[in-house]
């Protein structure tokens, strides 16, 4: 809290310097910053870890950066950042980026330090409200709960411009992650589903065979097996990670702005990272059926590969911007040791896509819209397998489809006010409590006031 107040005080004291667009009072050190405060409310349930049903002001971000050019071609800078999104951020200050940048020539520049990860068209600027039309970016591409994984990496990088309108960015180092990342929570759910399915069928077969050996009729043995399988599956649980450590991370981006169509930009970006986690996994006691278990183990779960590929196209014509993006996240988990038995959790693929349009009508008014479609498991796209498992599960938890209409009002060069509405179809990342029949169709409203300099 104290740190947040310091950051806020720094921002406000710089704002009080006057109606300047930047502060350049420390030699050639430039200082820029942004601060925004929003309000978010939904018609049903809480969304994305925020108490949206009651309405919430826990919806803000702020940042301040310092940069200087001590020598020709060399630039040094750092940005501090804090945000609050319900359970996420809580206004804790973090080092957003801090690196040295040396431009060798037009084809090659070198960076070292903590750099932003290039993913899709807008990941690098996802925290800066002032640079886009909407308040919330399409969740199918820019998952807020995964920001820790996608925000930045510590290491080295290269970038440059190539002939023909191509530009590239490469980075290698150690990424970021937290145990609260949605990616890991989703992985725990998927692991649990797969363990339940496996144990249910193994237990059902074992108990059915045992019943047949005792001389019970086949139909009764099958029903008994089925019942015992369901009971066994109900005892399986995989808790969300208690810890998570990022390892090797690689990032690459290639953009092409073809000469023959002014305003067209094509982009392909790729991120690869390894994450080491620890999870609590509980399995049932099935000794009678010849299946080991009956205890809870805390086990290391190494995610060998989280790779994200985003393909994007953006077309700018005058005051109109159109864009489309496709996102594919693939997660590979190696064998997990459960009660000494290597258990293959295999691979999961998550996909999302979004299309958006915005138009600036006057200096002060911009209107935009987007549609975003997010599916948390490409193997179970319609959630039928998920719903078939025991518990208060609904197939709509597998997706989130968001139709957004947004407005932006530039009060002046520094102040921006935004207002937007979302029609949501889905229950992913929605807290519907114990509601046995949650309505997957609901509305979300957000407003935000931002200042940047």
């Amino acid at each position: 809290m104290k740190k947040t107040i310091i950051l806020l005080f720094m921002c406000l004291s710089l704002v009080s310097v006057g109606a300047v667009s930047a502060y350049e009072g420390l030699g050639n050190v430039e200082i820029h910053g942004f601060i925004s405060q929003g309000y978010i409310q939904s018609t049903d349930y809480d969304y994305s870890g925020i108490k949206t049903e009651d309405g919430s002001f826990e919806f803000n971000e702020m940042g301040i950066n310092f940069s200087t050019t001590p020598a020709d071609g060399l630039r040094l800078g750092a940005q501090f950042f804090a945000r609050d999104m319900g359970e996420l951020g809580n206004d804790n200050i973090e080092l957003d980026w801090a690196y040295g940048d040396y431009r060798v020539n037009n084809y090659l520049g070198i960076r070292a330090g903590k750099v932003k990860i290039a993913l899709g068209l807008y990941n690098e600027t996802r925290d800066v409200d002032a640079v886009r039309t909407s308040i919330m970016l399409p969740n199918a591409i820019y998952v807020e709960q995964n920001r820790d994984v996608y925000a930045g990496l510590k290491g080295v990088g290269a970038y440059g411009e190539l002939p023909g309108g191509f530009s590239y960015q490469l980075a290698y180092g150690v990424g970021g992650v937290s145990a609260e990342s949605n990616l890991l929570i989703d992985m725990a759910t998927i692991m649990e589903d797969r363990l339940k399915t496996g144990i249910q069928s193994a237990a059902a077969a074992a108990y059915e065979a045992g019943a047949l050996q005792l001389g019970l009729p086949a139909a009764i043995a099958a029903a008994y097996g089925q019942q015992q399988g369901e009971l066994a599956a109900a005892e399986v649980s995989v808790e969300s990670p208690s810890s998570a450590t990022p390892l090797n991370t690689q990032n690459a981006s290639l953009q092409w702005a073809p000469r023959f169509v002014d305003g067209l930009r094509l982009s392909g970006t790729w991120l690869f990272t390894e994450i080491e986690t620890t999870m609590n996994i509980s399995t049932p006691n099935l000794t009678l059926a010849g299946v080991n278990g009956g205890n809870t183990v805390t086990t290391a779960v190494n995610i060998d590969n989280v790779s994200s590929i985003v393909g994007s196209v953006e077309y700018t014509r005058g005051d109109t911007i159109l864009s489309a993006e496709y996102n594919m996240i693939r997660v590979d988990i190696g064998n997990v040791l459960i009660n000494g038995n290597p258990t293959d959790i295999a691979t999961t693929e998550v996909i999302g896509w979004a299309v958006s349009a915005s138009h600036r009508f006057t200096y002060w008014f911009e209107l935009g819209a987007y549609y975003s479609d997010w599916n948390t498991n490409v193997r179970d796209r319609h959630g039928k397998d998920f719903e078939a498992l025991q518990g208060n599960r609904h197939r709509e938890e597998r997706w989130m489809r968001d139709t957004c209409l947004t407005t932006r009002f530039d009060l002046n060069e520094n102040w921006i006010f935004k207002l937007e509405g979302h029609y949501m179809n889905g229950l992913d990342d929605v807290d519907f409590g114990n509601d046995p029949d949650p309505d997957p169709h609901w509305y979300l409203f957000a407003s935000k006031l931002s200042y940047s300099f």
Binding site: H32, S67, G73, R75, V128, A130, E161, R259, D262, D319
Partner: protein, 140 residues
């Protein structure tokens, strides 16, 4: 016949959508140290978007923008961006650490003075500005 008319109308409207009328009321000027006499539009875009940082002899480029009415003409004619899009672009650069906010001066006279005194500098002024100790750059 009706379908043909609709088809033609569609293509005429597409033509209007993709062809950019250019009304250059802007002169591109550079410091006399700059060896290049001309630039293509793509290079000029890359310079003012901070992507091209070196001249062909690998000396550094210093560009300056204008805060007067010539700014909008320059952006529309050569950079294919409105002033709000240009401002947003540089906000992105500033808040990701990829660049510092471009230097902006109020008048043609100030821009001419800055460009004439800064090795490797490039800027733009209105066509009726009185040029002194700078060279003009042709845009292909």
């Amino acid at each position: 016949m009706k379908k043909i008319l609709i088809f033609m109308l569609f293509f005429v409207s597409l033509g209007g959508f993709f062809v950019t009328p250019t009304f250059a009321k802007v002169l591109i000027i550079a410091n006399n140290s700059v060896s290049q006499e001309s630039l293509n539009k793509e290079d000029l875009q890359n310079i003012f978007l901070g992507k091209m940082a070196k001249w062909s002899d690998n000396t550094s480029i210093y560009f300056v923008t204008s805060e007067n009415e010539v700014h909008e003409d320059f952006l529309k004619t050569y950079i294919n961006r409105s002033s709000s899009q240009f401002r947003n672009y540089w906000r992105k650069m500033v808040f990701t650490g990829k660049g510092q906010k471009p230097k902006a001066l109020n008048s043609d006279e100030e821009i001419i003075q800055f460009v004439s005194e800064t090795t490797g500098a490039i800027g733009y002024v209105s066509t009726d500005a009185a040029l002194k100790n700078v060279k003009t750059i042709t845009v292909n």
